[in-house]
């Protein structure tokens, strides 16, 4: 409302009956309490009329120094805190942290646990992308109908998470060398139901949105991110792939057991908001393919490594050898990495998170320059940030 009011003011300034238009730059703070910023995030915008000429993001409102807390806690005790980084995809956060610690301590993960991890990670990708598309439409002004359709489908997956891990959003499910508990009985049937119904939901969702002329004219050729800039500014995830760069860590690093699955990496061509929307839809379809394959192949066996000190039951005796490790995965938002330094004690010496949504904000200004205020809002929406992760 405040923005609109300011815009009205600036407009009336301009409408003064003078021969030459004497306009001046207007500085507007969008946020921190603004519904379009997805949390407490502020954009310092300088406007020329309605056009953005300068944009500086300001963050830190949710800062809680996650990294310092982790230095004072055992390796296991940081696991529930990673849930709260990107609170929409807690499973992938857990996975990234577990992979980093496993790299540091050299823990093998049993076959079944790998499959469970992949299933959970791909379900999380479905949750995140569905929700993001819903919220992107909210930013566009399609108020809550698409979001609620997205919520309805997301609930079904969250029910699965709850039945397996005990919580809907703060799952705290992965452990070093496996997962916390085996899949609950009846999981496979429910998963099958979701995998079968999801394409139908996506078809319906696409029918609602993809060819919608309003969506197209609002999103196409808005906030274009050229290829070279995306690479240079370390953009990752769907934001990067919408610009046409083929870089998916699931393919490049082949962590966990991803090389076993057949899936494609969808790429955009223009790099605008519409491409980012559509890449996400296509990625969901690929995730469903991975889920189908994983469902068929999942073997019986151990769900957590019995290798000894994995930190799952006795965190104080879990002391990774001295050294450092950087573990990274393709989280739904981009590359999520954990850099850990161990000094041989039960607590990490240094614990650093490489949050995708924080680093993807680097090029927010470049994408928004020359756009209108309303465009800046949807460009921010299409970057897909979660403030818990940006501020840590």
């Amino acid at each position: 409302m405040f923005v609109i009011w300011l815009l009205v003011i600036s407009r009336t300034e301009m409408d003064k009956p003078e021969t030459t238009l004497d306009t001046q730059m207007l500085e507007v703070n969008i946020g921190p309490q603004h519904p379009s910023t997805h949390g407490v995030f502020r954009m310092n915008v300088t406007l020329d009329g309605e056009t953005v000429v300068r944009l500086k993001p300001a963050m830190g409102y949710l800062h809680r120094n996650h990294e310092k807390i982790a230095e004072g806690a055992s390796y296991l005790a940081s696991m529930p805190f990673t849930d709260r980084l990107d609170y929409i995809c807690s499973m992938t956060n857990n996975l990234a942290y577990a992979i980093a610690v496993e790299k540091l301590a050299g823990i093998e993960v049993p076959e079944r646990a790998q499959y469970i991890r992949v299933i959970m990670a791909e379900l999380t990708r479905l949750v995140n992308h569905t929700l993001l598309v819903g919220f992107l439409l909210n930013d566009l002004g399609a108020f809550f109908t698409p979001t609620l359709y997205a919520f309805r489908e997301r609930e079904k997956i969250l029910d699965l998470f709850e039945a397996t891990s005990g919580a809907r959003m703060m799952c705290n499910y992965m452990r070093f060398g496996g997962v916390k508990a085996d899949l609950h009985p009846g999981f496979m049937e429910k998963l099958k139901e979701i995998v079968e119904n999801y394409p139908r939901f996506l078809d319906e969702f696409e029918k609602l949105l993809t060819e919608n002329e309003i969506l197209m004219s609002r999103c196409q050729h808005v906030g274009i991110l050229p290829k070279h800039l995306a690479v240079d500014a370390s953009a990752t995830g769907p934001l990067l792939r919408a610009s046409g760069v083929d870089y998916d860590i699931r393919k490049v690093d082949g962590y966990s057991i991803y090389p076993r699955f057949k899936f494609r990496v969808p790429l955009g061509s223009v790099g605008d908001v519409y491409d980012r929307y559509y890449v996400r839809i296509l990625e969901m379809r690929e995730s469903i393919k991975i889920l189908e394959q994983a469902m068929k192949e999942i073997p019986p066996g151990e769900f957590i490594s019995k290798q000894g000190a994995t930190g799952a039951k006795s965190p104080r005796t879990f002391r990774p050898p001295k050294g450092d490790a950087y573990g990274r995965i393709e989280s739904p938002k981009g590359e999520l990495g954990f850099y850990l330094v161990s000094d041989g004690t039960p607590n990490p010496y240094r614990y650093h998170v490489r949050p995708p949504s924080f680093i993807n904000l680097t090029i927010l200004e470049d994408m928004c320059l020359g756009c209108k205020v309303a465009d800046a809002i949807i460009i921010l929406g299409s970057v897909d940030i979660v403030l818990g992760e940006v501020d840590r």
């Binding site: 963050m59 830190g60 800062h63 990294e67 310092k68 500014a233 010496y349 650093h352």
Partner: protein
Amino acid sequence: MESTEQIQKDLEQKIPAVKLQLERDAFLVDRKDLIAVARFLKENESYKMDYVSCVTGVDYKEYLECVYHLYSMEKKHGPIVLKVRATKEDAKIPSLTPTYRGAEYQEREAYDMIGIIFEGHPDLRRILMWDGFAHYPLRKDYVPEDQDILDK
């Protein structure tokens, strides 16, 4: 990707007057050579390290260390890890932001949390803490103001 020893030999041959020290899988670079090494890695055809993934600082009590993880999006290989050290009294490291845009916010964060001053950074301000904050919270000698909360 070759082994780290080969890369080390290759780099020392091709960039004049650069000495690299091998530390596990990482290269310890002298801070005056950092920009030259990074630029070479980015532009050389056989490396093409065009993507800086993770930039962070570590406080090792005697010195501060800045760690860069470089990958290549074009050739899809990596990482090459560069480590740069500086003393606490003279915590200045040349900034890689002019070479890699992606380092911009990460270097600001390292400055904010560890107190490494990146020379040549276009906009080195605090990013997560507020502007008037006087300390660097991730240094090991930082004393939290409200001790009761952590020591409960």
